[in-house]
Amino acid sequence: MPTPVSTARQCLTPEAAHALDEAVRVAKKRRHSQTTSLHAVSSLLSHPSSVLRDACSRARNSAYSPRLQFKALDLCLGVSLDRLPSSAGAAGDGDEASPPVSNSLMAAIKRSQANQRRQPENFHLYHNHQVSAQQINNQSSSISCVKVDLRNLIMAILDDPVVSRVFSDAGFRSSDIKLAVFRPLAVLPHLHPRPPPAYSDPGPGRRGFSFPFPGFSGFFSGGGSENFRRIGEVLGKSKGRNPLLLGVCACDTLASFIELLEKRTGDKRDDSSGDGGVLPPELSGLAVIRLESEISQFLNRNSDKEAVDSRFEEVGRSLDRNSGPGLVLNFGDLKLFVKVDEEDEEEADGRVSYVVEKLTSSLLRDNSKLWLIGAAASYETYSKFMERFPSVAKDWDLQLLPITTSSSMAAESSYPKSSLMESFIPFGGFFSTPADFKVPLGSSPYPYMTTLSHPCNGQEVAAVSKGVSSVPSAADQHESGQHSWLRTAESGTEKEGMIMKTRDDRDVLRCRAVSLQEKHDSMCHSLHQQQSPPGSDIHPPQIPTTMGFQLAEDTQREVSENDYSCCTTAYSRPIADTYSKPSLSSAAIDSHQIVRSESAGCCLPLIPTNATNHKPLNEDSGGAFRSSPHSLLSNSSTCYGSQASPAPVITDLGLCISSPPAANGEPINLKDLCRVISERVGWQDDDAIFSICQTISEFRARDGRPDGGRMRGKNIWFSFLGPNWHCKRKVATTIAEMVYGSKENFMYANLNPQDGINDSMFRGKTVVDYVAGELCKRPISVVLLDNVDKADVQVQSSLSRAIQKGRFPDSHGREVPISNAIIITTSTVNDYSIHKDLSRYCEEKVMKAKGWPMLISIEKKQLGSELSLSVISDGRSSSPGLPNKRKRAYDNASTRKGLDLNLLPAQENDDLLSKEGENLESDDFVCDDHSSRAWLQGFFGQVDRVVMFKPFDFDALATRISKELNKCFHNFFGPECDLDIDRRFMEQLLAAEYLSDKKRTVDEWVEQVLGQEFEAVRRKHGELGSDYIVKLVVLEERSDLEELNPRGYLPPQVIIN
């Protein structure tokens, strides 16, 4: 049932209504009974400036000339219109009865109405600013009845199958046209400063803005055109208007620019607008005079002054004659002006100066109409020239123009053959994508409509149609025009093309085009599907990880609570144990005694904290886990020891079995922890260890501390300050083992970016990412972060956030919960490293020791050599006068001061060097030093416990070891024989002892290995008299002997010299 025109008009904006009127007029003229979409199209196309026509011209196939294609469209449309039934007998009364709107057209109007109602904002988005101004007003005018505007109406009409058939018959694709209507070419005023140069325009068949690719052959006058444009800009300036091109390609560019100008002036009559966008309009018609050959001849002494003079006179004359904007004088390559002439320097100089003078004077004569242009290949040439003629820069009013791209190279034939450019356009540039790093472009949700609709297909179709047309070399062209992967993918296509060549049939062409397009689309499709995985891979699947992690966290939380209850139920036992264990080291006993005294004071020291901290926790985690029986259990078990109700205990035990500590069969216990740690790092002072252990057990007992307003889970933050790196590490691993059940639950990172080790370990990740990643993998672990004082800004902010929020952010801003981790940061901040310079053996040096092979050498004592000998002994007693007493005069109190007098200077040197190194490093961060320190102070203020570590007393250990060595030595040799221990040797032994888990490792080694070796020496050399000295040294860097002892610092045998 057709709709009356007036009804239809109500739904339209004036503009659209006008279009409808036109359509009705067409229908009336043709005496059709109804106004259909075809009429609408016809009327829309009839206006040369109509939106649809514009869209068509942009969406058209660039292989045809637009004129032809529009003609084809007209024909197709005409044919279709002719087929429509005309209204019988309505010829006479045409005036009053306008043909009503057909159902299909009305449906189109309704569709567009609905569409517009649905997506007004989309509409706005794609609106061109020029066109939109008039229409947006209309659109907002009525909300109840949406008035369809022309653009939407066209879109809807194009959906009409009848219409799209017409368009496809004419070689258009309605989807292309829709795209073009939808998005009028967005011309960036800035990015498109001027239309493409006409000279590069391939012909009248192409409009400057063929959508969206410019005509391809026009591409590659390329690098040149941009350079020329810039030269033109300089010429158009009022000051600094004489360009001097500089760059390796400058001379080429200059030559082609001059050529271009000459050509253009030659063609001037036929092509009035022909400066090709190169020159500013006011300079159009600029003439060129080449002087470079005359100048070069003159400078090379192939001509004389007269020739040059006459040439310059000629210039003057043509300048007078010139009616245009002026003349450009090309003086060519500057190289000639600075060439050093060996034969006759003076004359050469004279000639150059003469030319320069001539140029200057002609410029002075009429500088409004005369330009100079030249080039220099290198900066050196230019600067030499400027040195020689310093005034020229001003006289010639030169403007340096760096030329970095050669125009000739850009024009190389390789460009146009790039079929890639023609056929592959992923998104047709339709959707502007903001810099959203999380959403890779490849995974853009938009349909492939754009790919499909892109005229690049058209280009291919063009290639095909070329093949079909009767051009002799069509097959070749076809081949070259096609994408090679496309070619390989569809092997039969060419043959097909050859066959088809014989028939110049439009239908076949169309079929072929369609099939090609389909293939192309599927290609694009698969290509893009392949594309997305790498994009999405970038961000590792965070959600599953987090979920898994959450789970683990929860279990852990439960577990740790269980730990605590277990630990408290079992509380009485270890105390009793302690009493009955006489073999414990004094340190361990000490700490236990402290505990005991505390527990004596308040029965169970942890009860109060525990009891008070349960409630806030419940609020915090709020999970089903934190059911009341559970906390009840904890409370009850703490308060009443083993009297807790049996049922929950059983559940707890069941849970405990699956948890690491339980599997270890060793519930965490303050005293056990203390004991184990002190065993491992026995020399560390007990206060430190005890405070660590106490903090851990206290914090493990609570859940999520509300203290200080921080709700950050059960993580514990330590700062271990002071020296003794190894001890800190050992403590950390021990904690991991004791608290989390395994040494595996430990991770380490050095925050000092100066340490090169990190980069291999992190494999390109930043420290923050590494730590976050490890935390992801092992949420329940001890994290040891060394050198927190050297941390960079990123780490600092991550740490600050982590300590406040209980979540550790990585560099992408993702956060890893750390509520069950123990985070230990260490620092060797200077304030705490006491006695550093007093002791002979410092940690750094000991840590540098390697497992070199060791050597016993026997030397005869020489008179003068005593001074150079070093004996482990007191400094005062090692005076030359008392050689024999040296080793006996042990004085424990004084060993600390001077173990090795003779090496003292060297060591000081070393220290100095290392200090210098430090200074150098710290200089790099001078700018951050202050803020960094402030941050560090703030950070230390936030950690749960700052523990000071005392330096390890290497001197005492050295004394003990040397005592041991001497004892062993004198078992085999008489007291009159001296033992000399090299400093490196001692360092290696110290390292062995220091780093070993056991105590007295070195003592054992001395007894077993060294003892044997001494015996061997005695067997070999017999009893040594007082004039012999036995030296213990390490063979450093003797790679020929043996590689580093893989088994550690203590070699299984010692070489005897």
Binding site: A435, G442, S484, P534, G535, S811
Partner: protein, 268 residues
């Protein structure tokens, strides 16, 4: 101003951080501004950082890539200078990677007063070998690369990315592959040609702004001799920093290391 704002939008210009000093990060071909993501945290506290995408980047609407205009590096310089002007920057330090290093050099020739320092990462004035210049590539090799790129862009990307990244850092390779593949292949090819056709050797002397060349110990695109060439020919005070890592994209493969060196270079 309208054009300026539009440009800021098109090139995804971002301004981060709050510091007195302005620091501009410009990425190279095949990446976009996201390449600096790992470097940024080190600088946003003490600098105002300006980020933008080159018009050829995958994150920029390819329609804005005007094949007639971006035939040399100068239009890129225009873009950069317009951005800086739009943000009213009167002085800044500039960190440019690869092609952007070159763009920075050109920009500093045009507006020396605008730049306090140029930091050039993986820069090369000329990639092709010449009589007495070793740029690392022969013309024929380049043509091969282009052919491969045309033949199968995806395969080329997959093969090229690990080479360029150099160091064994899968994440960096993935990231580079992603950004490289985001670029429309024709644009990649076009820009690559532009880059390989560029020759900065003649104009290095015009650069008077102090430069710092940051180079990895092994870079497939930039042989060590190029660094020497740059150092001797650049007109301003020039320092060289060799990173203890490999590859052409240290900001992806060793961000921590690069950030430290950058800080040091900027502090000087």
């Amino acid at each position: 101003m309208v054009t300026g704002n539009r440009l800021l939008e098109v090139l995804n210009v971002r301004r981060l951080g709050s510091g007195d000093r302005v620091l501009v990060f410009a990425h190279g071909v095949g990446t976009d501004q996201s390449a600096w993501q790992r470097i940024l945290p080190f600088f946003t506290q003490s600098y105002t950082v300006i980020l933008y995408d080159l018009v050829c980047a995958g994150s920029v609407n390819p329609d804005y890539f005007d094949f007639h205009r971006y035939t040399t590096l100068d239009p890129y310089v225009d873009d950069l200078l317009s951005i800086l002007d739009a943000h009213r920057v009167d002085r800044c330090a500039y960190v440019g990677h690869s092609v952007s290093a070159m763009i920075g050099l050109l920009a500093s020739i045009r507006r020396p007063e605008l730049f306090s320092k140029l930091i050039l990462i993986g820069a090369s004035p000329r990639f092709l070998n010449d009589k007495d210049y070793h740029g690392g590539y022969e013309q024929s090799e380049i043509e091969e690369v282009f052919t491969a790129m045309e033949a199968n862009y995806e395969a080329w990307v997959q093969g090229f990315a690990p080479l360029a990244v150099g160091a064994d850092v899968p994440a960096a390779v993935r990231e580079f592959t992603r950004t490289l593949f985001n670029m429309r292949p024709d644009i990649t090819l076009f820009v690559s040609r532009t880059v390989f056709n560029s020759d900065f050797r003649g104009i290095l002397g015009l650069v008077k702004v102090p430069c710092c060349i940051i180079q990895t110990s092994k870079d497939m695109s930039v042989p060590p001799s190029v660094v020497d060439y740059l150092k001797t020919h650049l007109g301003g005070r020039t320092t060289v920093e060799i990173l203890r890592t490999e590859g052409h994209l240290p900001h992806l493969s060793a961000p921590g290391l690069l950030a430290q060196v950058l800080r040091r270079a900027l502090a000087r």
